[in-house]
């Protein structure tokens, strides 16, 4: 086993499949339309990418611990609505409104975790309920109307979150740095720390983790909170970038995010997760969405490709897994 070549080890990594897919995707789109790799298109794609990507990072940690969260899209819509409602009504400064939105997001995550670990309801049902509750609250307090956000212009918080600047002719949003930074931190936490070992063990075999004195419940609650906070954070970033806080935004994001995570090689059943894989998964889906429009396929066909990628990648992961079990 130890004398396998570097190449063999590289190929057997769960991130290998997604990497090949991403490269193939880029090559195909580029060969059809060279504009695909233009500076403008890349910088546009990146700015969209990080918003779903932030949620996917949280979801990767949560899914590794054996749970998942369907309420992320609702929190994505809810957090900015709260922030702008407080700010526009003059109840609080932008900073305080931001903090209130973050604390409420964390509370939603805590509630998810509480129902899952204490009341012992499956995370599917808990977060499905939460999806409806949070979306409902968002719609109720806004009467369904978008909140004004234009007054954020020039505020330091807005620049810190989505401020843009140019590197040459390449436009970079600050949100990209948040995404990269958080990805590096979470990747380190998952693979290099004690807590990361607990997260994997909680998802792999919660009972034996408990038998070793690992606080599985607290670990899971913390990850539910992390996921909700990242969803709210990314919702706020998006609201500033697009200058709108629409209580309906983020609808359907939960499934797209889960798709990104599993395409990257994280197990839906828990115990195994990869942040690098998720980053690849995020790009695979975002590049696909961007690419098929650029090469002239109607955007409505997007879901066909996404579905096909999920099925294809799952088949690949499953085949590799079985090959591995059977020995090569």
């Amino acid at each position: 086993m130890e004398n396998r070549t570097f190449l063999q080890r590289f190929i057997s990594k769960p991130e290998f499949g997604p990497l090949v897919l991403l490269v193939a995707e880029l090559a195909v789109f580029w060969s059809i339309n060279h504009d695909f790799l233009s500076v403008l298109n890349i910088s546009n794609t990146l700015s969209f990418t990080v918003e779903l990507g932030l949620i996917a990072l949280g979801m990767t940690m949560l899914m590794t611990s054996g749970e998942f969260d369907l309420s992320v899209g609702s929190v994505f819509g809810f957090a900015p609505v709260i922030m702008w409602t407080f700010f526009n009504a003059g109840w609080a400064s932008l900073e305080i409104s931001f903090l209130i939105a973050m604390v409420l997001s964390a509370f939603i995550g805590w509630a998810n975790g509480w129902f899952v670990t204490r009341v012992k309801i499956s995370s599917f049902l808990v977060t499905l309920g939460m999806l409806l509750v949070v979306r409902g609250v968002g719609l109720y307090i806004t009467d369904g109307f978008p909140q004004r956000t234009w007054s954020a212009g020039g505020h330091w918080l807005a620049s810190a979150l989505v401020g843009d600047f140019y590197i040459g002719s390449f436009r970079v949003y600050a949100s990209l740095f948040w995404f990269v930074g958080i990805a590096i931190i979470l990747g380190y936490v998952l693979t290099g720390t004690k807590v990361g070992n607990w997260i994997q063990a909680a998802g792999g075999n919660a009972n034996s983790a408990r038998a070793r004195g690992v606080n599985v419940n607290r670990t899971k609650v913390a990850l539910f909170m992390l996921t909700a906070v990242l969803s709210g954070f990314s919702g706020i970033i998006s609201s500033i970038r697009t200058s709108s806080a629409n209580p309906n935004s983020g609808t359907g994001y939960e499934l797209e995010v889960i798709a990104m995570v599993v395409i990257g090689g994280t197990a839906l059943t828990g115990g195994r997760g990869t942040i690098i894989g998720t980053v690849l998964g995020v790009f695979i889906l975002r590049v696909m969405r961007n690419g098929i429009v650029l090469i002239g396929v109607p955007g409505l066909a997007y879901n066909i490709f996404i579905g096909a990628i999920i099925l294809g990648m799952m088949t690949l992961h499953s085949v590799l897994e079985r090959r591995h079990q059977a020995g090569t």
């Binding site: 086993m1 130890e2 936490v189 290099g192 720390t193 004690k194 807590v195 990361g196 070992n197 607990w198 994997q200 063990a201 998802g203 792999g204 075999n205 009972n207 034996s208 983790a209 408990r210 038998a211 070793r212 004195g213 690992v214 606080n215 197990a267 115990g271 195994r272 591995h324 079990q325």
Partner: protein, 254 residues
């Protein structure tokens, strides 16, 4: 008279209306190997689950070294020096050998804030331990448990108990699914444990294995302890079997 390590008094356990333990009293002394025997469903696993904090008792008292303790979780039990190797192996199949060995008590290095796993140390200790429990094959410590054989997994669980030097090591059917060499390894481990001052509770269905290593045999039947002072040196296997099944049954069968 040997010093007392564990004392359980009047322990009862109900699973709903099923009474799995009925007024159980058990003492384990220091450096003593106790064999716990009984037929399927007699309550052996339940008894040790209560002692190791895996399930709460319905009533009763547990003392460690003469001091009454409350064991509400496995963490409590580990803190009292009670380590358990479960019948249904307690390893995380997705994690590597080294990560399993140190699960819950991972060594960290560098500033505390970074919470950084000391992977070199984990791998080094893992290699050492695997050799000690008799795995002579060179298995890298980063191999996931999922690709080990049943016996190798058991050995990893035992290696873990050895490393963390507990006062009382509870083994629930540790020789199940083991080959001859591995079984000998486990039995040798139990004997060594006594020599180095540890106590053990050893549960197994193979009475011959129990006879080979224990100082004293305790027999359970339908949730009760029916004999707690059988000396394997002066008692025959057949006599113990009769206690396990209950005299009446033996007579009825003729």
């Amino acid at each position: 008279m040997a010093t007392e390590l564990i004392r359980m008094e009047h322990v009862n356990k109900f699973y709903g209306r099923v009474q799995a333990l009925e007024d159980v009293n058990l003492v384990v002394n220091e450096s003593e190997i106790v064999g716990l025997l009984g037929d399927n469903g007699a309550g052996k696993s339940t008894l040790i689950k209560v002692l190791s904090g895996a399930v709460p008792s319905s009533s009763g008292k547990i003392s460690v070294r003469g001091k009454e303790v409350t064991i509400r979780s496995t963490t409590d039990a580990i803190a009292q020096g009670i380590e358990t190797i479960y019948q249904d192996s307690a390893l995380v199949t997705q994690l590597s050998i080294a990560r399993n060995l140190f699960l819950g008590r991972e060594p960290v290095k560098g500033p505390k804030f970074f919470n950084r796993l000391d992977q070199e140390k984990m791998n080094e200790v893992a290699r050492e331990l695997l050799a000690r429990v008799g795995i002579s094959k060179n298995i890298p410590p980063n191999t996931p448990i999922g690709s080990l054989s049943g016996g190798e997994r058991q050995a990893v669980a035992i290696a873990r108990a050895m490393h963390f030097d507990s006062d009382l090591i509870i083994l629930d059917e540790p020789t199940n699914n083991l080959g001859v060499a591995e079984t000998q390894g486990v039995l040798r481990f139990v004997r060594n444990a006594r020599d180095s001052g540890h106590s053990c509770i050893f549960i197994a269905h193979n009475i011959h294995h129990v006879f080979q290593v224990v100082d004293r045999i305790v027999v359970m039947r339908r949730g009760r302890i029916v004999a707690d002072d059988i000396n394997p040196k002066t008692t025959s296997v057949e006599e113990v079997e009769r206690v396990i099944t209950g005299e009446e049954l033996v007579v009825a069968r003729g």
